[in-house]
């Protein structure tokens, strides 16, 4: 097997496995952190809308603009812009862990928008019913909005995960490693076409697996009973 890989792809299994592990590490951690940031942002956007239950024109406008600004920057530029912050948080500007900062701050506003749309899909009547029962704002979020939007939120997380896989390839430019980086530096720049094709296949399998898992989980949530 090792011989086969070395003969055809001019690399070692260790390199391939490390690249896969790096990708999973970056996607996994930034997905969790990004989701944890995105949910409160999305909830803020929904609640502070002018017709929301905590209507607040100023608060909504500020949050809306902040999310839009963050969403305006392509990931590769965001990475460079955030370098000082990255060094402050992680201690270094380059490497796999350093990539987590821009990846998280890239995906959080993206998913916040998707979550916002998911939560807005919950019928207004549900909130009205909650209020008629004497629910507090926190109870409305916890027991009504999040559970009812959950199926849709899972699909949004799936979309976010696939987007993150794409972004990690660019993180290679700050030495973050991963499957995308493997394809660019060892495959494309070293004229190693078989390796490049292999990484493409690996990426396709990654994305297919993520999408199938997300669809299955969302379907389970939506079609209960």
């Amino acid at each position: 097997m090792t011989d086969f890989i070395e003969t055809y792809f001019a690399t070692t299994p260790e390199v391939l496995l490390e690249a896969a592990a790096d990708t999973l590490y970056m996607v996994g951690i930034s997905l969790v952190l990004g989701t944890l940031l995105a949910i409160p942002i999305a909830m803020g956007l929904v609640l502070m809308r002018p017709d929301g239950i905590k209507g607040n024109r100023v608060g909504y406008a500020v949050l809306n603009v902040v999310v839009n600004i963050a969403r305006s920057l392509p990931f590769i530029i965001l990475m460079v812009v955030l370098m000082p912050l990255t060094r402050f948080i992680v201690g270094t500007r380059i490497g796999t862990t350093a990539a987590l900062v821009p990846l998280t701050l890239f995906i959080a506003p993206f998913m916040a928008r998707l979550f916002e749309a998911s939560i807005l899909e919950v019928p207004k009547g549900i909130v009205e019913a909650a209020q008629s029962m004497g629910a507090t704002t926190w109870q409305i979020i916890r027991y009504f909005l999040l559970p009812e939007a959950w199926g849709s939120i899972l699909l949004a997380i799936t979309t976010g995960t696939v987007t993150l896989v794409g972004a990690t390839a660019m993180a290679g430019t700050i030495g973050a490693g991963g499957v995308g980086d493997l394809a660019l530096t060892y495959g494309y720049q070293a004229f190693n076409t078989p390796l490049m094709v292999l990484t493409v296949i690996v990426l396709i399998v990654f994305v297919q697996a993520i999408q199938s898992l997300g669809n299955t989980l969302a379907r389970r949530t939506r079609n209960r009973a």
Binding site: P123, G125, I126, E128, A129, Q131, S132, M133, G134, A135, T136, Q139, Y143, F144, P147, E148, W150, G151, T221, N223, R224, A225
Partner: protein, 351 residues
């Protein structure tokens, strides 16, 4: 007792203001089934929402069981709302939770212990006849079953008031009847005051004790359902009553009546319960020099009482007609002059 005084609510729709509620006052005593009827946009749902403050009036006073609702802080308002159940046209159940969890929700929010929740949900499932559906999710239920779950959920915290906002408008006629029967049981067996908002006079006729008719943000007529049905005063009320008791006659017949050479009047006769206009009319024909011809007759059950409505053309001298009318009134029959124009012309559907 629910007391609404001088309630005004203005919505801003683009550049102009819409007065959804215009100085409305209304008192609903305990134990009653009260109906609010009006065309769409009349303000009836907005008024209903002022009772539990889902809608905050711009001015006026809301008192429920003596408590000044508008003066309450957030926590106290939450507590008061638990004493006021509400059901909706679109049911508003959580699709992501079982029937059991939907009904348990108001109690969980109120911090009721788990074992007491279980017992109460079982009791409520029995009351609404859905004991076999506890683990089902709402998307698997029919409209009628969903509304039963809605009613069970609204009753979870033992409220003294139940607000029903167009609760049967999304249901077919048969299911509507079963839900209305359930609301009557809620009122009779549990002593809950029920306030029903609807645009269907049928709902009022079958269920309510008293009714208020709304139009353009005001209450234009209010009274016991039987009185409103037998003698509707406002034009809009007559239109609503006509959706049940359609006492219009063909244009050709009206022309014929107009062409009557003798002195005549057209009367709308109403009788409720024991009285019978039929036999009284026969007596009048014998004892007075009057000839009557029947234009319209109907019998309906309104709020559990039989209401008969007859429209007749009576011919005779003015003096004799007056005497005949007095005779009928003495026999317990309601007598009113019927306007021929209004009888013939279709004024459009009230709904």
């Amino acid at each position: 007792m629910i007391e609404l005084s001088h309630i005004t609510r203005v919505f801003t729709a683009g550049a102009r203001d819409v007065r959804a509620l215009d100085d409305v006052s209304l008192t609903i005593p305990d134990g009653e089934i009260f109906g609010l009827i009006g065309s769409s946009g009349a303000g009836k749902s907005t008024l209903l929402r002022c009772i539990n403050l889902l809608e905050r009036p711009d001015s006026g006073e809301v008192r429920v069981h003596g408590v000044d609702m508008l003066g309450l802080g957030r926590g106290a308002l939450s507590a008061e709302r638990r004493g006021i159940g509400m059901i909706f046209q679109q049911f508003n159940l959580l699709d992501s939770a079982t029937v059991f969890d939907n009904i348990a929700m108001p109690m969980r929010l109120a911090g009721v212990p788990t074992d007491r929740i279980r017992a109460r949900v079982d009791e409520l499932l029995g009351f609404v006849e859905l004991s076999d559906k506890a683990t089902t999710y709402p998307p698997r239920l029919s409209g009628g079953q969903k509304q039963r779950v809605g009613i069970a959920r609204a009753l979870a915290n033992n409220p003294r008031i139940l607000l029903a906002d167009e609760a049967t408008s999304a249901l077919d006629p048969e299911t509507t009847d079963s839900i209305l029967a359930l609301l009557k049981r809620v009122n009779r067996e549990l002593g809950v005051t029920v306030v029903i908002v609807t645009h269907e006079m049928q709902v009022i006729a079958k269920t309510c004790h008293r009714v208020a008719v709304m139009s353009h943000g005001r209450i234009v007529e209010e009274g016991p359902v039987l009185d409103v049905f037998s003698d509707p005063r406002e034009r809009i009320t007559r239109r609503f009553v006509r959706t049940i008791i359609d006492d219009r006659v063909p244009e050709a017949l009206v022309e014929k009546i107009r062409a009557t050479p003798e002195n005549y009047e057209t009367w709308r006769l109403t009788y409720a319960g024991e009285a019978s206009a039929g036999s009284s009319l026969a007596e009048v024909n014998k004892t007075h020099d009057v000839t009557t011809s029947l234009l319209y007759a109907s019998v309906h059950e309104i709020d559990g009482v039989v209401l008969g409505v007859l429209v007749v053309q009576a011919k005779g001298t003015p003096e004799v007609l007056d005497a005949a009318k007095q005779y009928l009134r003495d026999a317990g029959v309601g007598v009113r002059q019927q306007d021929l124009d209004e009888m013939a012309h279709d004024e459009g559907n009230a709904a």
